[in-house]
């Protein structure tokens, strides 16, 4: 998603136009079979009947979606009421991902701005420093976070040795730990697009504002922010979307009480307690939400591009 720019480029030629279909064939085949077909198959499975030992029976059924949205009582014979269990898990996931996005924005924006205003030669080094952690295994980063935040872990040890706190703060297995984990997982995604926008920003605009006696913060809010808004939105999407469906941070840092969509889906495919059509249905709901979000984002970016072109 980081390369969401148009596929065209400056040095686009038609030298190999004759071999085009042959060159694209492997990608079409592999992704068609291993990315597109599986999503289609998942849609089909969400409308099938569950097999109790995992898997499905090939009989059409709306049971999975019905279970998601409606509560028909213990024996399924009561009039349907809205089932809040799963909607509230979705709501909690949105809330958690939203807070993680906000935290990333508050830290990421100043960082991106600071890097973009460094001399041109040292900027790549700063960007490199921000990207390295992203390439480190997400599992290892989450485990490291868990290690750091433990009740008797290094963070509490450090805070107690400085005398800031008298006894360990309990962070692990709270909602805050999950937000912190998500924030930590995807922070580089916030910094990079904002950096790219600020780098293109024309600072004479800020100078003009200063000449007209605008204060720095007014300039930031009224001139800079509206100009770099597409980058800010891109950063928020890039943090929010993977946070929403994340599995590792809630599972390792949140404990059983802070369930999110990812764990709910995973549970449906593990052992005999699982329900494959229901898992497929939840994944479909998640995918639909994400695609709507990306579509709105693409339209917003297209509008921003048009405005910039004028």
């Amino acid at each position: 998603m980081a390369g969401g720019a148009s596929p065209g480029g400056s040095a686009t030629t038609d030298t190999y136009a004759g071999a085009r279909n042959w060159l694209l064939m492997p990608a079409w085949l592999v992704l068609g079979i291993l990315s597109l077909a599986p999503v289609a198959m998942m849609l089909v499975y969400s409308f099938l009947t569950k097999e109790f030992r995992g898997g499905v029976i090939w009989e059409f059924s709306l049971a999975a979606y019905d279970q998601f949205f409606f509560d028909r009582g213990l024996f399924g014979d009561e009039p349907p009421r809205i089932e809040w269990t799963y909607i509230s898990i979705f709501w909690r996931s949105i809330w958690q991902a939203g807070l993680a996005t906000l935290m990333s924005l508050l830290i990421g924006f100043p960082t991106a701005y600071f890097i973009a205003t460094r001399p041109e030669k040292v900027r790549p080094i700063w960007v490199f420093l921000i990207t390295i952690p992203y390439w480190v295994n997400l599992l290892i980063r989450t485990v490291s976070m868990k290690f750091l935040l433990r009740d008797n872990g290094p963070l509490n040890d450090f805070l107690m040795s400085t005398g800031l706190i008298g006894e360990p703060i309990h962070i692990i297995n709270t909602n805050f730990a999950v937000q912190l984990g998500l924030f930590y997982s995807y922070l580089p995604f916030m910094v990079l697009p904002i950096y790219a926008s600020v780098e293109r920003y024309n600072f004479t605009l800020s100078e003009a504002a200063a000449d007209l006696y605008a204060s720095k913060w007014v300039t930031l809010r009224r001139i800079l922010l509206p100009t770099v808004k597409p980058g800010v939105i891109a950063g928020c999407i890039l943090v929010f979307v993977p946070s929403l469906g994340s599995f590792l941070a809630p599972d390792l840092l949140g404990g059983a009480k802070n369930f999110m969509i990812g764990s709910l889906i995973e549970e449906q495919f593990k052992g005999s307690a699982g329900n494959w059509p229901f898992g497929a249905a939840i994944a479909m709901v998640l995918l639909t939400m994400v695609l709507i979000l990306l579509l709105l984002f693409a339209r917003q970016q297209a509008r921003a591009d048009r405005e910039a072109g004028q």
């Binding site: 686009t12 592999v30 390439w135 599992l139 290690f147």
Partner: protein
């Protein structure tokens, strides 16, 4: 001049940047430091030692880690190689194939693994293998990895190709080089930094994947991340910190190589 820099600088932004770097690196540095702890407890520091590194290779769990590492590295090598070849072909068609119908669609298909949340890809791939009656194991992990590695290999390769002027290949063709020769002797060498960088990124992405692997691996086969996850579920042990530190080192080295390969090229 001072007024100009003054307009750009906001008080406190440098402090936040430093905080940002501390947050990004502190957990990794702490785990690296504690992996050299001589103590069997993860809480008490008892001095420097490489004891847990030796434990990873010779301890009671070494057989498990060895087979997991073999699986992880062989899958990453094959998946990254295949994905890089597919991505190179696709990038040539997209960047050097002129304008054509279905180009946006092809780009969408190539970036599909980046847009679909990982957990959804994991579920979908599991269901797919189940539906076609394919037994889960090494092959299913490899197939899934090839698919999600393609966009990561594609992006640096196509970015690099967009930076190469088409005139070089046209000059070669004017001198009676065939299209294949122009590709082999002109475009491919010029693209090499992008290809290497794409390969390395795909390799790391494959090596790091937990969620998709966890769904499609089936019983009885582990990669390093799934083995680590299984251990961590019972609590963080010092040998896990040692193995994590080594894996972390591999990623950092590969990203650094990738960075310098692509950077060296820009100065040409």
């Amino acid at each position: 001049m001072t007024a100009k820099t003054d307009v750009r600088n906001y008080p406190g932004f440098i402090a936040i940047t430093i905080l940002c770097l501390v947050i990004l690196y502190a957990p990794l540095l702490v785990v690296t430091a504690y992996s050299f702890n001589a103590s069997a407890s993860i809480t008490i520091w008892e001095g420097l030692s490489v004891r847990w590194y030796i434990d990873v290779f010779t301890g009671p769990e070494s057989a498990k880690f060895k087979s997991a590492a073999m699986n992880s590295f062989s899958i990453a090598l094959m998946a990254a190689t295949t994905a890089t070849i597919i991505a190179t072909c696709a990038a040539t068609a997209m960047v050097r194939g002129g304008k054509f119908r279905g180009r946006t669609l092809s780009f969408g298909l190539i970036s599909l693994p980046l847009m679909v949340p990982e957990i959804v890809t994991a579920v979908a791939t599991l269901i797919f293998f189940n539906a076609i009656g394919f037994t889960r194991g090494y092959t299913t992990i490899l197939a899934a990895h090839i698919a999600f590695c393609i966009p990561f290999a594609y992006l640096p390769i196509s970015a690099r190709m967009q930076g190469i002027e088409g005139t070089y290949e046209q000059a070669a063709q004017d001198l009676y080089a065939t299209r294949a020769q122009a590709f082999r002797y002109i475009l491919l060498p010029l693209m090499m930094p992008g290809i290497i960088s794409g390969f390395l990124l795909a390799f790391i992405i494959s090596l790091d994947d937990f969620i998709i692997t966890n769904f499609v691996k089936g019983a009885g086969i582990e990669t390093l991340p799934t083995a680590i996850f299984g251990s961590v579920k019972q609590g963080i042990k010092p040998n896990i910190m040692a193995i994590s530190t080594m894996l972390l080192g591999v990623s950092v080295v590969m990203v650094t190589i990738s960075y310098f390969v692509s950077k060296k090229d820009n100065t040409q």
